[in-house]
């Protein structure tokens, strides 16, 4: 299923921040995690993920540290800052509004439509 560029772009920020709220991690692991969470439906390109992480870092929502990985090479780990947590909570409320609105509609009419097709 193609999720669409706009929706991917819009949802990427809260998803990344939500994953980071569970603990510090690095780019590849975030990508993998998202893929698993969505059952393989959401696949981000590196060209999207890394600039996004860097933007969050610039905005102060995320901080990055270089640490040694298990292979002994340098790896960049990202974690959520306090400001980032506040922003995440804010984003969460917004998405919940959208989510409940959609559910409200689809729960009644659209569900019937989809099933009848």
């Amino acid at each position: 299923m193609d999720i669409g560029k706009d929706l991917v772009a819009a949802s990427a920020t809260p998803i990344v921040m939500a994953i980071l709220s569970e603990g510090a991690t690095y780019g590849y692991a975030i990508n993998k995690h998202v893929c698993e969470l969505s059952g393989g439906e959401i696949k981000w390109t590196e060209g999207m993920l890394y600039p996004l992480l860097h933007r969050l870092e610039r905005n102060g929502y995320v901080e990055a540290t270089w640490e040694k990985s298990d292979t002994g090479r340098r790896r960049k780990y990202y974690s959520l800052t306090d400001q980032g947590r506040k922003e995440l909570a804010h984003q969460q409320r917004r998405w919940e509004v959208v989510d409940s609105a959609l559910r409200g509609i689809w729960g009644s009419t659209f569900n019937v439509l989809l099933q009848s097709n």
Binding site: Y26, G27, Y28, N31, K32, T45, E46, G47, M48, Y50, P51, L52, H54, R55, S69, T71, R73, R74, R75, K76
Partner: protein, 453 residues
């Protein structure tokens, strides 16, 4: 032979570095991503080769990654020349390079003030000005040569040769019984920077000055250096304006500070700094000289053609005055530079284009103008006899005549596709030592031949 994984990753990295929007830290992060991907694929049974191919494929093409980075970091597309913050190892080298250049610039600034300790002042009333006129090159060009000697790890033999050349020329300028305001000493002072600049080229090319490609590189360097120098000079002019203004506001006269400190030290320091800037940026930024050349070649061609037509139309001839002859020499020199710089950037394999025809027109019209100027000089010589200035003008016109004449011949062969473009390029680079030889003749032999007139 099969490449191993490390070699492949290295290759991939070089591709990555070609994208301006991606900097070394990001590249490291992306590399880590690639490696983890390769490792994960290896764990499910793919061998290194397969894993690498799949991992790279999954990362999509680098162009689109770079585009997304560019959207996030639009400022990176405006290339930062000096103040780019690298992280990691590569910065140490550039930092040291910058330090050496700044150190040498300061040294040149000190050098130009040192003679004051021995009573040679820049102020007008004693012989100081003439001392500086004779020796100006020695306060800066040895430092520039030193910079390149250091940078290119010049061999001891070449270093010694260069040092000897500088020493001998210093002796020529100072030991010979030059007359204070003689024509020969002024001619020598004008030609010395040219002669020594070409010697600095030996250091620039790392000693392999016989190599034609290296010679052309030095020509390119010279052009870019000139642009940078002009820009720094412009900034320096603004600075000086404000120095004078700001001290005037509290009733102090900063004229002497500017004249005897800021100006001389700035002039020599900027020479080194511009060289370092060209070195640092040659691969990063679009070179400026070719752009200017493209812009001005049609304009100068038009100027020369219109001038020649007017000359024929009105039936007048060039005035044989000294200023006029110098002006024409400079004009022809400029034409030569236009020619040289458009050659320096032209792809030798490109087919004949409109610009080549234009270039040919420029050469031919310059040739005609040169013949006219030459005729004017010889008529002046036959009227007034030989003088250092006239002989210098005559020599320079002849040198340009030979160059332009043969360039024109080569160009016409090129236009009718009888020969490749490389022959034109090669002719120009082969000709460079002639300028050096002539400049040295004017510096070293003219004073003796003309008995220090």
């Amino acid at each position: 032979m099969k490449k191993n994984l490390e070699e492949r990753i290295e290759e991939w990295q070089t591709y990555l570095y070609q994208h301006r929007a991606i900097q070394s830290v990001d590249a490291e992060e992306l590399e880590d991503h690639l490696r983890t991907q390769v490792k994960a694929l290896g764990e499910v049974g793919l061998d290194d080769d397969e894993a690498f191919i799949v991992a790279v494929k999954r990362m999509r093409d680098l162009n689109s990654i770079s585009r997304e980075f560019a959207q996030e970091y639009s400022e990176r597309l405006w290339k930062q020349l000096v103040f780019t913050q690298h992280e990691g190892g590569s910065s140490k080298e550039t930092q040291r390079d910058a330090l050496v250049a700044v150190g040498l610039a300061i040294a040149a600034g000190i050098a130009i003030k040192l003679p004051e300790l021995f009573g040679y002042h820049l102020s007008e009333d004693d012989g100081g000005v003439f001392f500086y006129l004779r020796n100006f090159s020695f306060f800066v060009l040895p430092f520039l040569a030193g910079y390149f000697a250091w940078k290119r790890c010049l061999s001891h033999v070449t270093r010694t040769y260069l040092a000897v050349i500088f020493l001998i020329s210093a002796l020529i300028m100072n030991i010979l019984p030059h007359k204070g305001e003689g024509h020969t000493v002024i001619l020598a002072a004008i030609h010395l920077p040219i002669a020594l600049w070409l010697c600095v080229g030996v250091a620039y090319t790392g000693g392999s000055w016989r190599n034609h490609a290296q010679r052309m590189n030095y020509v390119r360097f010279t052009g870019e250096w000139f642009i940078y120098y002009a820009l720094i000079a412009l900034g320096g002019g603004v600075l000086i304006g404000f120095i004078i203004f700001i001290f005037e506001s509290i009733g102090l006269d900063a004229e002497n500070l500017v004249k005897f400190w800021v100006l001389p030290c700035g002039i020599v320091g900027a020479i080194i700094i511009s060289a370092r800037l060209v070195e640092a940026k040659q691969s990063i930024i679009e070179n400026m000289v070719p752009v200017l050349t493209r812009l001005f070649t049609p304009l100068f061609t038009a100027l020369l053609l219109v001038f020649l037509v007017t000359l024929i139309w009105t039936g007048s001839s060039i005035k044989v005055e000294r200023e006029m002859l110098i002006g024409f020499d400079l004009l022809l020199l400029l034409v030569l530079c236009l020619l040289l710089y458009s050659i320096s950037v032209r792809d030798p394999h490109a087919p004949v284009g409109v610009f080549d025809v234009l270039q040919f027109l420029l050469v031919v019209s310059a040739l005609v103008v040169d013949v006219l100027a030459l005729w004017a000089v010889t008529s002046r010589i036959s009227e007034f006899g030989f003088s250092p200035n006239r002989v210098a003008a005559l020599g320079e016109n002849l040198i340009l005549l030979v160059n332009l004449g043969w360039s024109g011949a080569l160009y016409s062969r090129f236009l009718i596709k009888r020969s490749g473009f490389t022959s034109i390029e090669r002719w120009q680079t082969s000709y460079i030592p002639i300028y050096a030889v002539w400049a040295w003749i004017v510096v070293a032999l003219f004073p003796i031949i003309f008995k220090f007139q």
